[in-house]
Amino acid sequence: MGTLDHKRALITGAASGIGAAAAQLFAAEGAALALLDRDVAGGRGVADRIERDGGRAAFIACDVTRAADCAAAVTQAVERLGGLDIVLHCAGIIVRRSVVDLDEADWDRVLDVNVKSVYLISRLTIPVLRSGGGGSIITVASGWGLVGGPQAAAYCASKGAVVLLSKAMAIDCGPDRIRVNCLCPGDTDTPLLRGEAQQLGIAEESFLAASARRPLGRVGTPREIAQAALFLAGEASSYVTGSTLLVDGGGLAGG
């Protein structure tokens, strides 16, 4: 018996990193999944692995920044799963540039993937959750949605927006028994984190070593972030909404 037996979950950004880890964990806990990503090969790989392990997962190709893509993907997800109970927004990108060095196109891309996608997917999925009697929405922001960070202007702006978008949605959706919470990971060992080292021109290993400087002395694993998402997805958090859950090895506990 799993924590998410009979639950149906849609996960964006499911082809890698935290999204892929959450897909595996949610499937192992009994949920049936719709996995969205624009990375077709990666997304299919995650879905195939889950099905091989006896889980249920359908991959749906989707660019979450495009309204038409989102509409088609949500329609397909609802058809395949027969409804939705959980929506986990993992799609995200980072561009390590200060405002002065940031192209307008990069600003738009970061805001579109990290914030607009939450809006687009939510406006399509909230009515589905509502008609099923409620549900749980989990957004993924970042420690850098709560405090600023260097050379990540668009990313910090986008994640700060996700933090408050989540609280606003929690207020609007509460009466419909839809909970909305925001998961804020610290540095986690994902392709995104390793990509940052490349963008900054720093050797991957020394970048990861610097990222480990925090009370628990290491960066997080995608599985550890997925476990927090599982808590927010399931009945264990039935009175939690409008909340931010920081999972960062103590990085923002203080000095």
Partner: protein, 251 residues
């Protein structure tokens, strides 16, 4: 939840309310649970109602000597401590101008000094042994202002900062977090609020209801378990969305 089976757990204030719900949940998860409470009669009642409880200690957390003696008993009756649910607390509704120095000291002594005294005994044992987890009882009252609980609010703000500081000093061996409940319908709150007041509170909460002790117990269990192995130094709000922003602007 992973990592709770067979673990030794102490729940302070475990004879009633959220503490008792936490003790029950952790017993269900397979942990060996001791409760500590200053209310001896409540301790006896809890012993009857909590099947599988490992130990009961009667002590006042605001008294350093009693805390030391309680831990000596726990060393014997419970064994090496893995998890502390540092929950004991009191609240008294008073307008600020009516708070007497005695009441102020009593609230701070139980809610803040008690958390310190118990955490220090627990942390010494955890650091010398196999590590552990401490979860303190904060409150949304420690994060934002509320009428008529100035002493309680100050004590909970203190617990929140104590939590962050302990997380830094005890890392990486011991994880330290706090839970910050909003309106939870415990016996303590049922005694304080009329049903009209409860309805008025519920109207200001996005989920349109007060929380249940078992729902806070589930959060304690998560933060005590290995599922939260990368979480430390955090204060986690469980309030039905109450402090997400507020419904005051709704017609």
């Amino acid at each position: 939840m992973r990592g709770l089976r067979g673990k030794s757990v102490l729940v302070t204030g475990g004879a009633g309310g959220i503490g008792q719900a936490a003790a029950r949940r952790l017993i269900e998860e397979g942990a060996r649970v001791a409760i500590l409470d200053r209310d001896e009669a409540a301790c006896r009642r809890a012993q009857d109602s909590l099947d599988g409880l490992t130990a009961v200690v009667s002590a006042d957390v605001s008294d350093a000597h009693q805390v030391v003696r309680a831990f000596e008993n726990l060393d014997r009756d419970l064994g090496p401590l893995d998890i502390l649910i540092n929950n004991a607390g009191i609240s008294v509704r008073s307008p600020f101008l009516d708070i007497t120095p005695e009441q102020w000291r009593a609230v701070l002594a139980t809610n803040l000094e008690g958390v310190f005294l118990v955490a220090q005994q627990a942390a010494r044992r955890m650091l010398a042994g196999r590590g552990g987890v401490i979860v303190n009882m904060g409150s949304t009252n420690g994060l934002t202002g509320y009428h008529y609980y100035a002493d309680y609010n100050a004590s909970k703000a203190g617990v929140i900062e104590l939590t962050r500081s302990l997380a830094l000093e005890l890392a990486p061996t011991v994880r330290v977090n706090a839970v910050c409940p909003g309106f939870i319908l415990t016996p303590m709150q049922e005694a304080e609020y009329t049903s009209e007041m409860q309805r008025a509170f519920a109207d200001k909460i996005p989920l349109r209801r007060l929380g249940r002790p078992e729902e806070v117990a589930a959060l304690f269990a998560f933060l005590a378990s290995d599922e939260s192995a990368y979480i430390t130094g955090q204060c986690f709000v469980i309030d039905g969305g109450e402090i997400a922003g507020g419904l005051a602007s709704q017609a």
